[in-house]
């Protein structure tokens, strides 16, 4: 059973995705801010990281940068979950090692679950890198 870490500060959205992913059979843990997310990443192994970018304190990109600098060989799949439309920010996420991104407002929870499954089975997930 794949283990997923969701880092999302909006409670409604965090509850929505974690409940749907649990129903789909994943083990899911939630962090509501960047620092907590980073701490959890350092103490546990996850197969996939669903990472919001706009987070209080440490933002998603800073978290990813920090994690990757300490774990350059990590095989954990990273999907950016964001409502930001700015390509430069998303491109930076890809440069830091994300495999895909999803604009939250454009995906139903079912579709998010499907993208997670795609990503874990090595298929391309979400919207491609806008910077390529």
């Amino acid at each position: 059973m794949a283990k997923i870490l969701l880092v999302e500060d909006e409670k409604f959205i965090a509850d929505l995705y974690s409940s749907q992913l649990q129903k789909a059979g994943f083990e899911i843990k939630v962090a509501n801010d960047g620092l907590t997310g980073l701490q959890m990443l350092s103490t546990e192994q996850f197969d996939l990281l669903l990472l919001d970018i706009m987070l209080p304190g440490m933002n998603g990109l800073e978290l990813l940068r920090d994690f990757k600098s300490k774990n350059p060989n990590s095989k954990m799949v990273v999907l950016l979950l964001t409502n930001l439309g700015q390509d430069a920010v998303i491109k930076e996420g890809f440069d830091l090692g994300a495999q895909g991104y999803l604009i939250k407002a454009s995906y139903t929870p079912d579709q998010v679950v499907q993208e997670v499954k795609n990503a874990l089975s090595g298929k391309s997930a979400g919207t491609p890198n806008p910077g390529q």
Binding site: E10, F12, I13, L16, Y17, Q20, I53, M54, N59, L61, E62, N83, L84, G85, Q86, D87, A88, V89, K91, I103, K104, A105, S106, T108, P109, D110, T127, P128, N129, P130, G131, Q132
Partner: protein, 447 residues
């Protein structure tokens, strides 16, 4: 002490002693010859002794000259020390950090702001090579040495380096700050005056750069957040309860879904227009299966069409090719054209989507049985904020911000394609766009 005075001071006694020695030797020899008719050599110690005593006496006489040498020969005039003082005040009052390097890149001077930015006090820096004191890194983390900043040059007062982006400066005790930096060569033969580095504190700029968001992006993000919850929970609720709901309840919920879908599309449009305006609309080219893309888009719009009892059909044509396009943006165009068709077509109407290859182009059409567009409105259709009014007021739902066609045209133009409309009032409209099959996007840099 002036050089000539130094030389004079050190060489004079010996010159005088030599003169005294020669004179006394000559006198002794002469006396010996005159009195004794021979050179009486045992008399030689006498001139030696005399010249030694003479040298000793001369040193004592010249001692006052030393005092003169120690005290400054050239007294600074009161005006010159006032000027120096003023310059010192000016340099220390600059808002920029100033570091002066000698020709070997050693620090000669550093002002207060430079002290603050580097974490050293000036006296800790003076006499040391700049590279041993601080580390400068560019955006990518590559080190920039003082040699790269200030390459040896014979061109005086030339600007040698100017940072485009803020650099990271790691100073004393690994303190880190961000600076903009310029280096120029000083016009002087003096060893001490090699280069001048000016540093500007860029830390607030860096913070803004961390997540560079313009107002529209922030507003879009804020609007999308509650919308995510609305669409998300609505979707889950309907999935989990569709067997328990009456037909009427299902329809009501679907209308909420459709409305929130439209809201999402409007926000997408606002964001896109903002990018178009800023010239920051980035495209990502991908080999795309056109059939697959078209099928998905039509599927996604079925709910909205059926809520108005409009039949939305895809005429699957002959084998359609793979095409190099930005699939996300072209999907946006299709959603916009189909969405417009739904908006401007009455209940029970019909929308047909079709695609074909013709003369090296992939031509896609969205044909509706809507109200049609008056010919005078057609030239303005693809401009910003234009919505057809007049005869259409009664039938149109006045939805949309009028941005959709403007954005669609921008996207098609970027793909080097064409977009146009054929319409007749009362019969309907056909919006078409052509994408060149041979086009390959030169990869853009996003904003």
């Amino acid at each position: 002490m002036p050089n000539f005075l130094k030389r004079f001071r050190s060489e004079l006694p010996w010159k005088l002693s030599a003169v005294v020695f020669i004179l006394s030797l000559a006198a002794t020899l002469l006396t010996s010859v005159i009195n004794f008719n021979i050179i009486y050599w045992p008399l030689l110690p006498i001139p030696i002794l005399v010249s030694l005593i003479g040298a000793f006496l001369i040193s004592i006489i010249l001692k006052p000259l030393d005092q003169l040498a120690v005290s400054p020969q050239i007294q600074p005039t009161p005006k010159l020390s006032a000027d120096t003082h003023r310059l010192e005040i000016i340099v220390s009052s600059l808002l920029d950090g100033i570091i002066v390097l000698n020709k070997q890149k050693g620090v000669v001077l550093a002002n207060k702001v430079a002290e603050k930015l580097t974490g050293y006090i000036a006296s800790q820096m003076v006499g040391h090579s700049l590279d041993t004191l601080i580390i400068l890194q560019d955006k990518e983390g590559n080190r920039i040495t003082s040699e790269q900043l200030c390459p040896a040059t014979s061109i005086p007062t030339s600007q040698l380096y100017s940072s485009k982006d803020p650099l990271t400066l790691i100073g004393n005790n690994r303190s880190t700050t961000h600076v903009r930096l310029n280096c120029s060569a000083i016009n002087s033969p003096e060893e001490d005056l090699g280069y001048i580095i000016s540093l500007e504190d860029a830390s607030s700029e860096k913070q803004l750069e961390a997540i560079q968001l313009d107002f529209v992006s922030m507003a879009s993000h804020e609007l999308r957040t509650p919308l995510t919850s609305i669409r998300g929970y609505m979707s889950v609720f309907i999935n989990e309860n569709k067997d328990k709901l009456t037909k009427e309840q299902t329809e009501q919920l679907q209308r909420i879904q459709v409305s929130s879908d439209q809201l999402a599309a409007i926000i997408d449009n606002l964001l896109s227009v903002s990018k178009v305006e800023r010239g920051a609309f980035a495209l990502t080219a991908q080999k795309t299966d056109w059939n697959q893309l078209l099928t998905k888009v039509v599927e996604d719009n079925k709910l909205q069409a059926s809520s108005k009892n409009i039949s939305l059909n895809l005429e699957s044509a002959e084998e359609l090719p793979q095409i190099s396009i930005d699939p996300v943006r072209i999907t946006e165009v299709l959603n916009n054209l189909i969405g417009n068709a739904i908006n401007y077509t009455k209940e029970g109407g019909r929308i047909d989507v079709s695609s074909k290859v013709d003369s090296g182009e992939l031509i896609t059409s969205v044909k509706d049985t809507g109200a049609g567009i008056p010919s005078e409105a057609i030239p303005h259709l693809f401009t910003k904020f234009f919505r057809v009014q007049g005869a259409l007021d009664s039938s149109s739902n006045s939805k949309g911000t009028g941005l959709g066609l403007y954005i669609s045209k921008s996207i098609i133009d970027l793909h080097k394609g064409r977009i146009w409309v054929e319409s007749e009032v009362g019969k309907g409209s056909t919006f078409s766009f052509a994408l060149p099959l041979s086009w390959h996007l030169p990869n853009y840099q996003p904003e």
